[in-house]
Subunit: 429 residues, 2 copies
């Protein structure tokens, strides 16, 4: 891949204005007076610069990759090529799940820069959930997004040759995969400088994670699956901070971690982040029980995300899978159709087991690893925060270690419901 | 990958002589009088031209890919790039398992031509086994080859980035993978023009294979694993026709099907071809029981191939795995070491289950698909041949459908032993 890093330069406000002014399509979109455009840096993610640019006719979002991790600084270099993979996956998602990702307006490979539709008045879903907002479109939109992007890039829909080309096209994004491999699948289970947690309350739990060898085997199996199971083109970072919402719209953003991996990683990411919002909710109460309706909606959403995803994925498969896996010619006739349908159910059961495991991994990393989330972080009182976190961790450990105890999504939400008022005992509390 | 197909031409004897005469290193090796070199076409495989070239100082083997499947003709085109992948994998194997593959002397990408060490007096192992010959070096050599090539290209030995680069480097070899996907994992289980079997004796069994939906699910799961489980760099066609032997040497040849796939496919290929030699043996008897010692050696070899492979693979893992899977930092101390060792055993158990399934698939395709093998084909009497084949198929079906019935390799050889004198009933017999 030609990275053209030689031409790379960081575009701050003035340079960005000059650059955009040279793109006729963008000038048409924004308005003819570049000098009057407002340009605001709004990046609150961990990796990139993000600008909102507004003119008298319209606005765009501009994302530029930095050659290092923004959260940490130049000491942690990160290849600019991630902008290429983000552009590539965003293009694919736009094709497979139209209307569920921001529209692409412009891309410059050398500058690692992408210009996209400005999402307004969308907000980051995680922020809305901290405030206790329900999103009625979310289930339908996210399950359409996942079912279509995962199914149509899998062996069920593609020839083996097409699939291998896709895998190869994203193989170069290994630096972003490595972040996941380290921060999700390794560091929370060992001493690592970047780990942090709500001390002193969770100190004993953190020590326990480092000491539990069954957990280390379970997380290592998940890590190996993450590294070596290219089932479909994943978003790769599908948490509620990568989803922008209004009452009536859902947009999935930021697929720079995209690669061919296990489907359960994306589905598990959505479920984990909903479950964390659920457990965090009690910590955001000002009056006991005031967020019960929100919490009920979250658990209902957890259930529906899985059931609707599974239903849509199966419908796509039934509607005529053109891929090389499970060839139609081997399942002809009534008997074949019945046997294939049973196998489809078994396939989804295996995918559900993966999903449960990955959801657990995604939860634990947000409580003991480098990158935390505002669901918990905005609970100001550390003990209240630790209580919410301990509940989430207790569920996550069970999900990782006792996969057999969670044969259905109702078993997951049932366990979550039971933990809503569980009072952990903190040695240091 | 630059294929340079523009410069490709098929080199028959005269053109080949002229070409080799222009390569100073080869002239040194063969002898200074190109006109006196003997050049003989000996290719008995399905895909390529193979020449043996001998001069007064030495000899070489020359392999040139044809732009179509030799067995079928120009109606079945096949990319020349397979010579590139063969060269790439042979180089890797030579580095990982020195002395167990033919030494490389010369490669021309544009001509899809590779010059290798002449293996003399080695013969194709399958031919020796038809004759009832035992190979005392085989177990040690093939298990070293498999353990080292598979381990050192797996996530246990490589970083995820290196592994992804390897996967991408072989992703273009999909046309060769497709042959396997069709001929092994699909066609024998459906009506396909190229299928053939020992009719009329096996007609009912062939119909049964097309009708058994449990088998279709089992073969489809194996196919999906073959397509989407890049565990290690496989040889990809590791049958006894790809192995050349003497009493004291073993060389693995012809890795043009190489790609990153499931390890059990290579190990299963070796076991399946030994088991077929075992079942074919009765068909080659001139006096009842005259090959019993050979047959006992074959079954002992089957057991040792698995146990020695597993032992060597585990030893490499224990000796210090540098890969990103199962990181040492998660298994520190005595407790960690013990738990990791238990997981290693579980890993090998999963690999054994895969191996059993792939061995079954490799057996069935040789009896009902396009490409048969001389183990059975050289049994002249069709009914005797069908009896041997039916025994092999009965074991293979059990191995594919009842994986749980074969927890150890002794269960496989035990079942084979019991079938040695089983008399199938042929409706048409």
């Amino acid at each position: 891949m030609a990275e053209g890093q030689g031409d790379y330069r960081i575009l701050h406000e003035a340079a960005l204005r000059d650059y955009l002014a040279e793109q006729p399509d963008l000038v048409t979109l924004l308005g003819a007076e570049p000098v009057s455009w407002s340009i605001t840096e709004v990046g609150d993610g961990n990796l990139n610069l993000v600008f909102i640019v507004k003119g008298d006719r319209g606005g765009v979002a501009v994302k530029q990759a930095l050659p290092y991790v923004r959260l940490v600084g130049e000491s942690w270099p990160l290849p600019l090529s991630r902008a290429h993979y983000e552009y590539l996956s965003l293009s694919k998602q736009a094709q497979l799940a139209p209307g569920l990702v921001p529209a692409l307006r412009h891309h410059n490979e050398a500058l690692a820069l992408t210009v996209m539709e400005l999402l307004e008045p969308h907000i980051i879903m995680r922020k809305g959930m901290v405030a206790g907002t329900q999103y009625p479109r979310f289930v339908d939109d996210i399950t359409t997004f996942m079912a279509r992007t995962l199914f149509f890039t899998s062996d069920l829909a593609l020839s083996a040759a097409e699939k291998k080309q896709g895998i190869a096209a994203f193989a170069g994004n290994h630096a972003l995969c490595k972040i996941t491999e380290d921060l999700i699948f390794t560091d929370p289970y060992r001493i690592a400088e970047q780990n942090r947690w709500t001390a002193p309350y969770l100190d004993a739990l953190a020590a326990d994670l480092r000491d539990d060898m069954d957990l280390h085997v379970a997380i290592s199996r998940l890590k190996l699956k993450f590294m070596a199971s290219p089932e479909a083109l994943l978003h790769g970072d599908l948490h509620t901070g990568s989803i922008m919402v209004t009452d009536s719209q859902t947009r999935v953003i930021d697929p720079e971690f995209a690669f061919y991996g296990p489907m359960g990683f994306d589905v598990g990411a959505v479920l984990a982040n909903l479950l964390m919002a659920y457990f965090a909710s009690a910590g955001h109460e000002r009056l006991p029980g005031e967020r019960r309706a929100f919490e009920a909606w979250v658990l209902e959403t957890v259930e529906q995300v899985w059931t609707e995803f599974a239903r849509k994925f199966l419908d796509l498969w039934r509607a005529g899978a053109a891929g090389d896996a499970y060839p139609a010619s081997l399942f002809a006739g009534e008997k074949g159709a019945a046997r294939l349908e049973a196998e489809r159910q078994a396939y989804m059961q295996r995918l559900f087991a993966d999903t449960v495991g990955f959801a657990a991994a995604k939860t634990i990393r947000r409580i003991f690893g480098l990158a935390h989330n505002i669901d918990f972080e905005l609970i100001e009182d550390p003990k209240r925060r630790a209580i919410s976190e301990a509940r989430a961790v207790r569920l996550a450990r069970a999900m990782m270690l006792e996969a057999g105890a969670f044969p259905t999504i109702a078993d997951v939400t049932g366990a979550a419901r039971k933990l809503r008022d569980w009072q952990p005992e903190f040695a240091a509390g």
